[in-house]
Symmetry: C2
Subunit: 343 residues, 2 copies
């Protein structure tokens, strides 16, 4: 059974993943090799191995095919070793009046993006990426209806340096009964900015980035893609919708499709420039109850894992980056320009 | 020239390291191989290569040997590719009235811990580790006298997964003209706790850990070593002095020696248990001006890099850990017990 625990000094919550718990003597470094056949009979996410995952909660399938059998284009399944489970209650408990914890209550799902073992979202068809984004939206809305959850975090881990354990293309989502500390921090800062200026800091940021014209990689009618002024890592990239909107859950299916095309374009361009690079992306969105706030603004943050966070970053929270975002933005914009016929 | 830049939405500062800047087309993954001879003629930190580093600012040497030549046991040199330099001014600037930055003003030093290329702090003599800790203290006090700096972060990166680029044993310190966001966050939470309870959260934490007897790995007259209740990663370990004291700069040489012996014992024990594992440690201390606060408490935080932070951690700030600290603490305590004759 998992637990959510809070450090009383840092106020940071952690999930002690009971389902994944390893024995202390089992922490040896394992190398995951990147073997990439189109089908791997040992991969639990490959066609034919549907029984190796928990039963699907959603799937895009050819007509007539049965659930949990071949014939799918995309499957959503509960994580077999979930960090959180939808059991337990919301009560905070204090062990010995000092140590605070709560049940490891939540949802942890896997979005298997394709039946093809060696496919890469950076080179998938636009239509497939649209399906993935529409699936994110559908699961987000579905889980938002459960009042036990405050937030759904949707994320993707690509490659070993990004913390993935399975190479088969997939994303994940975790619904938590608490507002994560990073979200809380972003909300507080955005609220303070709004109280000072009367405007959304993200709306101001895209306006200023478009004015400065130094770090913008791509702009469409609906989205602005740029390397943030204070990028934490080389090639950090944000996709921000032009329209003010605090929550990913408020987007229409049409907006989800457009967002998918922008995501595919920028990842494709990064893939051209950086090769088969490791990265994480996260959909940063307001908690459900703050879905219509004036001060927050959902966005996607792509963090390439080209360098390693060391002790200074972990201790201070200040990142040292070895590239100017003006340079990486120019480089990416050129690469995107080359193939910009695709809409 | 480096720059300190602030993201207006997250308020996070980053250092864009001008001296280390790489071109956008230069981000290919390089593998650092762990070849470990006792002397490597190509290593800039090895004996005989003193000219390959900037001139030393401090060294422990055999009598009669000259600066920047062989005959040293430990050297402190400025980082050749510093993240920050002691030039520029403290003014915050706003580019286009939105983007905030300041000069990359600071100090970045390297403490070369030994002339022996393949030595490991986890297996060094106690006397050598004492020298290292005394050097931390000396440099900390020296840099604290410069009123341009708010904070000195002392840290160690061991191994490739911990972000080191040179295998020769060394620590680093960075003096910053700002209070890092992690320190600010810790201070704010500790102040709030103090305002509520009238006690230091770290003092309460060690008292409760000693009472609970579940996560304590080692206790001496002066220090308590434990796996925090909400450990972020497997084998996270904190070394906390029993005596309330906000700043590392307030410790006496005698306390520094005792701290060194505790650090050596716990690292030695982790090394026995985990093998040649990668880790970071950081000395978490109050900014200079808060050195005597009642609510903060300096400590050392050891973060083994046995697992990789993935998208969920980066997006939410909630860590998922795959070991219970009660289990890892018991395991480490047993290992320490075996060789506990050494003082």
């Amino acid at each position: 059974m998992s637990e959510l625990r809070q450090n009383r000094a840092t106020k940071r919550w952690v999930i002690v993943a009971g389902e994944r718990a390893r024995r202390p003597d089992d922490f040896k470094v394992k190398e995951v090799s990147k073997s990439l056949p189109a089908h791997d009979p040992l991969c639990p996410f490959c066609t034919g191995n549907e029984a190796k995952t928990p039963a699907e909660v959603l799937a895009m399938r050819v007509p007539g095919s049965s659930a949990n059998s071949p014939g799918w284009q995309l499957r959503v399944v509960p994580n077999k070793f979930p960090a959180l489970r939808p059991v337990g209650d919301l009560e905070r408990r204090e062990e010995h009046a000092f140590f605070r914890k709560m049940d490891g209550l939540g949802i942890h799902e896997v979005i298997i993006e394709s039946p093809v073992h060696n496919e890469n979202i950076a080179t998938m068809t636009y239509r497939k990426v649209e399906q993935i984004m529409l699936t994110y939206r559908e699961r987000y809305l579905h889980l938002g209806a459960d009042t036990r959850f405050q937030q759904v975090t949707i994320f993707r881990n690509q490659g070993q340096r990004a913390g993935t354990s399975l190479v088969h293309p997939h994303s994940q989502l975790i619904a938590t009964p608490i507002v994560p500390s990073n979200t809380r921090h972003l909300l507080e800062e955005a609220m303070r900015y709004y109280d000072d200026r009367g405007s959304c800091v993200f709306c101001d940021m895209i306006r200023e980035e478009l004015k400065a014209k130094k770090r913008v990689v791509l702009e469409t009618m609906d989205f602005v893609v740029f390397e943030p002024y204070a990028s934490r890592v080389p090639f950090e990239t944000w996709i921000v919708p032009r329209r003010h909107n605090a929550s990913f859950g408020n987007i229409s299916p049409g907006e989800a499709r457009k967002c998918a095309r922008v995501l595919r374009r920028i990842l494709g361009s990064m893939y051209q420039v950086l090769g088969d690079f490791d990265y994480n992306y996260m959909i940063c969105t307001a908690p459900f109850k703050d879905a219509n706030e004036s001060y927050y603004h959902w966005h996607i943050s792509i963090l390439p894992r080209l360098t390693t966070q060391a002790g200074f970053e972990l201790g201070s929270g200040i990142y040292i980056t070895s590239a100017f975002p003006e340079d990486t933005a120019k480089y990416l914009a050129q690469s995107i320009g080359v193939g910009s016929r695709k809409k």
